[in-house]
């Protein structure tokens, strides 16, 4: 019997949880706020689903209903992607070491 591809995705998911666990524990506490803003930005990779929904077309005259939902999802995710990465960059730029005299 063949293995259901779902099992492979589930394996990726579980392994990623473990990777996430170890990587996040190694984040220095002083960078916890940038950690939240950057995780927020990367979770907006959900835009991938929004793009697929938006580009689906069966007839050429009208938008499908899924297109409309897709467009709004793109708008929201794009706000997050740009806002999240840029605000993270802005924060990280501020972290400076003591100047050696």
């Amino acid at each position: 019997m063949e293995i259901d591809p779902f099992i492979f995705r589930l394996s990726i998911f579980i392994l990623s949880i473990f990777i996430g666990y170890y990587v996040v524990w190694s984040v220095t506490p002083s960078l916890h706020t940038p950690l939240m803003s950057v995780t927020n930005a990367i979770s907006s990779v959900i835009i991938v689903g929004a793009i697929i929904a938006s580009l689906a077309s069966e007839n050429n005259s009208n938008f499908e209903i899924s297109n409309i939902f897709g467009f709004f999802a793109i708008l929201l995710a794009a706000i997050n992607i740009f806002g999240g990465f840029l605000v993270t960059q802005r924060m990280l730029q501020m972290y400076k070491k003591k100047k050696k005299k």
């Binding site: 990587v23 950057v38 999802a73 995710a77 972290y95």
Partner: protein
Amino acid sequence: MSPNLAAFLYLASGILFILALRGLSSPETSRQGNLFGISGMLIAIIVTFLVAESFSKEFIYVLIFLSAGGIIGSVIAYKIPMTAMPQLVAGFHSLVGFAAVLVAISAFLEPNVFNLGTVGNIKTASLIEMSLGASIGAITFSGSVIAFLKLQGIMSGSPIIFRGQHILNGLIGILIVVSIVYLCISQLPQLFWILILISFLIGFLLIIPIGGADMPVVISMLNSYSGWAAAGIGFTLENTALIITGALVGSSGAILSYIMCKGMNRSFFNVILGGFGATDDTAKNIEKKPVKSGNAEDAAFLMKNASSVIIVPGYGMAVAQAQHVLREMVDFLKKNGIKVSYAIHPVAGRMPGHMNVLLAEANVPYDEVFELDDINNDFANTDVAFVIGANDVTNPAAKTDLQSPIYGMPVLDVEKCKSVLFVKRSLSPGYAGIDNELFYRDNTLMLFADAKKMTEDIVKNLN
């Protein structure tokens, strides 16, 4: 583009996201990490376009909405003051949650587009995945909206409690599970809408009983939820980048919630069930004990004659926007050869790492800023502790008073300093609703004023 190549590139983008988080292990590597994150996102978006191979009129609209969102996001990112970071993150979480709901809805309405079957005959596994994604997304959305309103001060930070709250929440929770099960059996679209509606409702209900100072836990928890929602959608779309990211974000938020709860010595459920700090009984029993209060001149004198000073910032510093003038004060002290460091409690402020960002904004070098465990032993050898906007996290009752609601919470040992300067507007109790016995100690000098105003006056007196 072939689906196999696309799958590999999605994997690459997932790996770049892992590297982005890895970069945050130190400030030096963090900026590079952020660039990894951006490249991961670029790859994911471009691959999606190439796979779709559809450059019709929809494509133009996609670009329009993408750029509109990009412009809005960029403007927000550049305009937002650093003190508003907690509400910004809460607001962003709500957007991710809502985007997840929208994607789940379009997958439900037109499953053929996503290869999930046909309307009324969607694969059961996909149906479960998209229901979970939609439900968690909806909870993330409405919960984050409440968190945003509380942090922004539009809604009162005090807990909203009513009779039978937990029973109601429990019933809604059961209803969510039941509707997912029936949805899978019957494929009735009405059930899908009901599921989304009650998930929005439970999101609101879950967050309203949680008080303002517990927001660090709430934000971390919603961060985690937004990850699980993304993972749910990732399973629906069979997309590795989304699955990896969802798992990363989900575990990141969960770890942060854990760290925050530990910082308060409270269990996760104790925080989530809410109502903390709502009862005000202890506040009424305060007897009038003598306190020593002083002015800026006294404070300046004390610090000038010290050889070491530790600054303990808290949420009050953020509210008063006192971080810049605080840095000026520290500059004066350092010029006089006084050793100054900063001590940060894990739950100081309204989100994890809140104080660190504000100090970084005020150009405080990050190697002068210490976490609780690293600095707590130094208080005993320090002349002056300058507490600005913090309260409960310095309360010695957490170590001695078994009856205290905060007993067992790790606190900063400021009382071990030779003298303590405590900037506060009044003697009112902190978030936990309890009196801070530090106010009445012999070595404490209360400075009753707004944090910014007082620090400005101290700077004048140091001159």
